[in-house]
């Protein structure tokens, strides 16, 4: 096979993969006052599962999530936290109805997520992509 044909084939396969498995961007975001600059995956899991309630400086953590059936939430669970959404839901409901903790606050849309995280000290959430005019800060995983 000629190099040119091989190149075309590679591009075709890559394009097919991209079209078949759409990749969605997701960024963890925090209130600008949060001191953390990066986050480990296990920290993210502890925060979103509701087990850890304060940042390293001692200030309270407030967690915001989207409804379970939204694609961005599915991606947070599976790609970022490496846990199934039904497991997160089960952990939150057990926490809520046994009084052992306070589960995350569910917001209706990404727009509301941006607003609530921006106005709530100690807040963490997630959006598709941080926009220039957003008053929230991306918190990359390390």
């Amino acid at each position: 096979m000629q190099p040119r044909a091989l190149h075309s084939l590679f591009l075709g396969v890559a394009l097919a993969l991209v079209l078949t498995f759409p990749v969605h961007a997701l960024e963890l975001v925090v209130h600008p006052g949060v001191a953390e600059k990066t986050l480990e995956r296990k920290q993210a899991r502890s925060l979103f599962s509701g087990r850890v309630n304060r940042w390293t400086d001692g200030s309270p953590v407030r967690v915001f999530v989207l409804p379970d059936d939204q694609e961005l939430h599915q991606e947070l669970a599976k790609q970022v936290l490496d846990i199934y959404p039904y497991q997160l839901r089960a952990a939150w409901e057990r926490m809520r109805y046994t009084g052992m903790g306070q589960p995350p606050i569910t917001v209706a849309s990404e727009e509301e997520m941006r607003r609530r995280v921006a106005e709530t000290p100690g807040a963490i959430g997630y959006v598709g992509k941080v926009q220039n005019h957003d008053k929230i800060r991306a918190l990359p995983l390390r």
Binding site: E40, K42, V52, R54, S59, P60, E93, Y97, G99, Q102
Partner: protein, 410 residues
């Protein structure tokens, strides 16, 4: 002991107090309110009643309503309380009760681990399901596996006053947690008495326990965000037998102990759960004119459960669950031969369960399940008394149980 009316008033006052102390400047985001209401339709075959007048007819006797709140005044502190009103035949003796009410303090709370102390009435961590077994949304079916999570003994093994220590350590792919609880078990009620003593004709007294008469511990390992869970739980208790009027026995004590091994595997569609429990019963009774009586038996509980998530709304489950009161006499024949008037099938229960759950949204859920049971090992005696007497011979050995439940939660 069953909570008395004055102590319920104290709990109610504390719950209301928790609500009333919300300072004007407190952030509303640190307050959470929650509750649920559920209604069951239950039908059982033969003469066996299950939480209500259910034999041969659909009964709507069982319903529950719960409401509670929690407040996190500081990241280290959490105050939580919930009251529940429950109705369901003679087995539910305490209609309105404090489900839980405690203060929690977390001196350590970082990504690598946490340490929390709780004081008050807490849901006792035990096995895979004990803390969440009361909430319709957090268990696969309507009834949790009865061989281990007996609804007839709910007051004894579900929620208790005491002190609780919880610790967790996190690694990249695993979490290890330890729970230690020193509690006062609730041994009030006909079901607890008949389950532990076994007879209310020869034994006319009641059971009493002191503060901190029971201990429960659970060591749990969770791999890969809970895909694999392994737990070892142990609980032991002590209760005094207080003689009644005209009692043959002048006193005594009961020292039961339970040890449970739990395994669970979760994938996107399928969850498999298996638990095995060794149940030790040790009863000692003294008498002024009879030789002292010692009763000891080692029994076992075991189930295997498969849950299949068809999609985010529909889940089906299948379970086989067995309970044996005495592993040396699994079919109960030796017991029946030694105790005239008693029957072999009261000493075991073998239960096939098939169920389907439909979750409409975050608030509503409908569940239906069918049980085919051989034996009455976990049938609540209080719903099946004849003239106040527990007569297992009047029950049916092989019986069916059908339940439907609608739940609303907020």
């Amino acid at each position: 002991m069953t909570r008395s009316a004055p102590s319920r008033c104290v709990d109610t006052a504390l719950l209301l107090g928790l609500l009333a102390i919300q300072p004007a400047g407190a952030d509303p985001i640190d307050w959470r309110f929650q509750g649920y209401a559920s209604q069951r339709l239950t039908a059982s075959s033969g003469d066996n009643h299950f939480f209500g007048d259910t034999a041969g007819r659909f009964s709507a006797d069982y319903r529950e309503v719960a409401a509670g709140l929690s407040w996190r005044p500081d990241p280290r502190w959490l105050l939580s309380g919930q009251a529940v009103h429950r109705q369901g035949g003679n087995s539910v003796e305490d209609d309105l009760e404090t489900d839980y009410l405690f203060a929690a303090w977390s001196p350590l709370d970082v990504a690598d681990g946490s340490l929390t102390l709780r004081a008050g009435k807490i849901k006792v961590p035990y096995g895979l399901f004990n803390e969440g077994r009361d909430t319709p949304m957090t268990r696969p079916g309507i009834l949790p596996p009865q061989s281990i999570y007996l609804d007839a003994l709910r007051g004894f093994n579900q929620s208790a006053y005491g002190l609780h220590l919880g610790a967790a350590w996190d690694w990249d792919a695993a979490t290890v947690s330890l729970s230690l609880s020193q509690i006062k078990p609730n041994l009030g009620g006909t079901n607890a008495f008949l389950s532990f003593v076994g007879d209310n004709v020869l034994f006319r007294g009641r059971l009493e326990s002191n503060n901190q008469d029971a201990f429960a511990a659970r060591l749990a390992y969770e791999h890969d965000g809970g895909r694999i869970k392994a737990m070892l739980s142990h609980a032991s208790g002590h209760a005094r037998y207080v003689p009644g009027v005209g009692d043959l026995w002048s006193g005594g004590h009961l020292d039961p102990a339970f040890t449970t091994l739990s395994l669970q595997w979760n994938s996107e569609r399928l969850s498999l759960s298996w638990e095995h429990s060794r149940n030790l019963f040790r009863n000692h009774y003294d008498s002024l004119f009879l030789p002292a009586l010692d009763v000891k038996s080692v029994g076992s509980s075991q189930y295997l459960q498969a849950e299949w998530r068809f999609n985010s709304r529909w889940t089906g489950f299948l379970r086989y669950d067995t309970l044996f009161m005495d592993d040396d006499d699994k079919d109960g024949t030796a017991f029946a031969a030694a105790n005239p008037g008693r029957v072999a099938w009261e000493r075991y229960a073998k239960d096939w369960t098939l169920g389907l759950r439909y979750r409409l949204d975050d608030h509503w859920q409908l569940v239906g399940e069918y049980h085919r049971v051989d034996g009455i090992g976990w049938l609540p005696p209080a719903d099946n008394l004849s003239g106040g007497i527990w007569n297992p011979a009047a029950t049916d050995r092989r019986w069916n149980l059908i339940l439907f439940q609608a739940t609303y939660q907020f």
